[in-house]
């Protein structure tokens, strides 16, 4: 086999392996009981952080498809209306993507504020969809707390995400 081809294959596997690792970790954080979060009642939306971060710094046409699938799996696991996480993830990705050019050169504070807007918007949408699906007006309090918690945890998560980003940036074969 052509050694050059072999090398780039290794790079691709390594790259996607890293992405997969981060996604798996975030998925696990979204699903397992964390005693600190009072049985998941107030759980930060970890996946949203990856969506936002990668859409700005590492956009790929595959992002919406990947997060759609992850959303569906989360819906099934959490007994949510099928498609709700998927819808919110794809929408969040879309909105972030449309603001990408503006956000790219900004300071971290502005990017953080942008995430706050996305997190609150996603929370509000989830609350509205849930109320509509069950034809009952849910209390929005816990959802709001979860969104605020997500905003405060974003810088913490942005650190490992930026490590992945740097590793990928060194790779000349990565998708633009």
């Amino acid at each position: 086999m052509d050694p050059e081809w072999n090398e780039s294959l290794l790079r691709v596997v390594g790259r996607w392996g890293l992405v997969l690792l981060v996604l798996t970790a975030l998925f696990v954080l979204s699903a397992i009981p964390l005693k600190i979060t009072h049985l998941g009642e107030i759980r930060p939306v970890f996946m949203l952080m990856a969506i936002y971060y990668w859409t700005i710094l590492r956009p790929s046409p595959w992002l919406p498809v990947a997060f759609f699938v992850i959303g569906l799996v989360l819906d099934l696991l959490a007994a949510y209306p099928l498609g709700m996480h998927a819808l919110i993830f794809v929408l969040a990705q879309w909105v972030t993507g449309s603001q990408r050019k503006f956000l790219l050169g900004q300071s971290f504070l502005v990017i953080w504020a942008g995430f706050a807007a996305i997190a609150l918007g996603a929370g509000a949408l989830q609350w509205a969809l849930f109320s509509l699906f069950n034809l009952t007006l849910f209390s929005a309090k816990l959802m709001l707390i979860s969104a605020v918690l997500s905003v405060f945890l974003f810088p913490l998560l942005a650190l490992p995400l930026s490590v992945v980003h740097k590793a990928l940036a060194d790779d000349p074969s990565s998708v633009p």
Binding site: W5, S8, L9, V12, V28, S30, A31, I32, P33, L34, K35, I36, H38, L39, G40, E41, I42, R43, S60, P61, W62, P64, V65, F68, G71, L72, V73, L74, L76, L77, A78, A79, Y80, P81, L82, G83, M84, A86, L87, V90, L91, Q93, W94, G97, Q126, W127, L129, F130, F133, N134, T136, F138, S139, L142, M143, S146, P172, S173, V175
Partner: protein, 294 residues
């Protein structure tokens, strides 16, 4: 050749550009289909949880251990105090155990005198909660036990001393528990001192609401609520909660168990056939004597 354009080459750019819009429509369609018919979604859900359970079980244990380490760093002194408290409690429980056995024997002989058909034997299957992804809108948890462990749909689930929910979906090795706090939870109960029957409804909050109460059924704060066993799915007389408020906006009940912080739960399996065959109630195993703290 470098793999610069692989993904783009495989999938035409146009198709991927349109992907978000298509996916959004697809998600909306799925939601509407789910709203129209929940059965296929439930089947899919069971298959998915069955498939993910081994991984979640493996992953959640070390995570929990880590959180517990951070959560419960206790000094030796705390452990000693806890130990003394537990030993005292154990001594008390031993006394209770003896008197319970005596009462059970007495009960048994009365039942025989009256020729009462015996209650079914209760089997307990203990399991750790492996997932609670429901967030603030869906109150359900996943357990790594299923048909293979003799869990059945409809089984009651207890934590420590009170009812926390019931099994709504069972796979081969996983099951979903709908907690009593969920908006869709309805449990037939009775008020222990007056034997008044009612329905206990979840409201997606910490307190539960008593519904379908007969008019003027004089509720008192502090009255105990237990399962009535009506409908035949849940065993009778499992403790559920106590009344904490009565007033214009209804009668509200606080659950006995701390539903916010479940870790280990017991699935209560009523083995009806066996009980009918033997007519016996087997005494529970003697409580273990705890020598150390938690």
């Amino acid at each position: 050749m470098p793999l610069k354009t692989t993904t783009v080459q495989i999938m035409p750019v146009v198709v991927l550009r349109a992907a978000p819009a298509v996916l959004i429509l697809l998600a909306l369609t799925l939601m509407m289909l789910h709203r129209a018919d929940t059965l296929p979604v439930e089947r899919l859900r069971t298959a998915m949880t069955d498939a993910l359970t081994p991984a979640l079980t493996a992953v959640s244990a070390p995570f929990n251990a880590l959180v517990e380490q951070i959560d419960g760093v206790t000094t030796i002194r705390d452990l000693k105090a806890e130990n003394i408290r537990l030993e005292e409690e154990n001594a008390k429980l031993q006394q209770w155990y003896e008197s319970a056995l005596k009462l059970q024997a007495e009960n048994q002989s009365f039942r025989e005198l009256l020729n009462v058909k015996a209650d079914p034997t209760l089997n307990f299957i203990t399991a750790r909660v492996i997932s609670d992804a429901g967030g603030s809108f869906v109150k359900s948890v996943l357990l790594p036990v299923g048909v293979l462990d003799k869990v059945q749909k409809g089984n009651a689930v207890m934590s420590g001393h009170g009812l926390v929910g019931r099994v709504t979906e069972v796979g081969q090795r996983s099951s979903r528990v709908l907690l009593i706090t969920d908006l869709n939870s309805r449990i037939p109960v009775l008020i222990q001192n007056t034997r008044t029957k009612a329905i206990l409804a979840g409201k997606n909050q910490n307190l539960l609401k008593l519904e379908r109460l007969p008019p003027d059924s004089g509720m008192t704060i502090g009255a105990r609520i237990v399962t009535s066993g009506d409908g035949g799915q849940l065993p009778a007389d499992l403790p559920v909660g106590t009344i904490v408020s009565t007033g214009e906006n209804g009668v509200w009940v606080r659950p006995v168990s701390d539903i916010d912080r479940l870790s280990y739960v017991q699935v209560v399996n009523t083995d009806i056939d066996q009980a009918l065959a033997t007519g016996e109630i087997t005494p529970p195993p003697k409580p273990a004597i705890y020598k150390s703290g938690k």
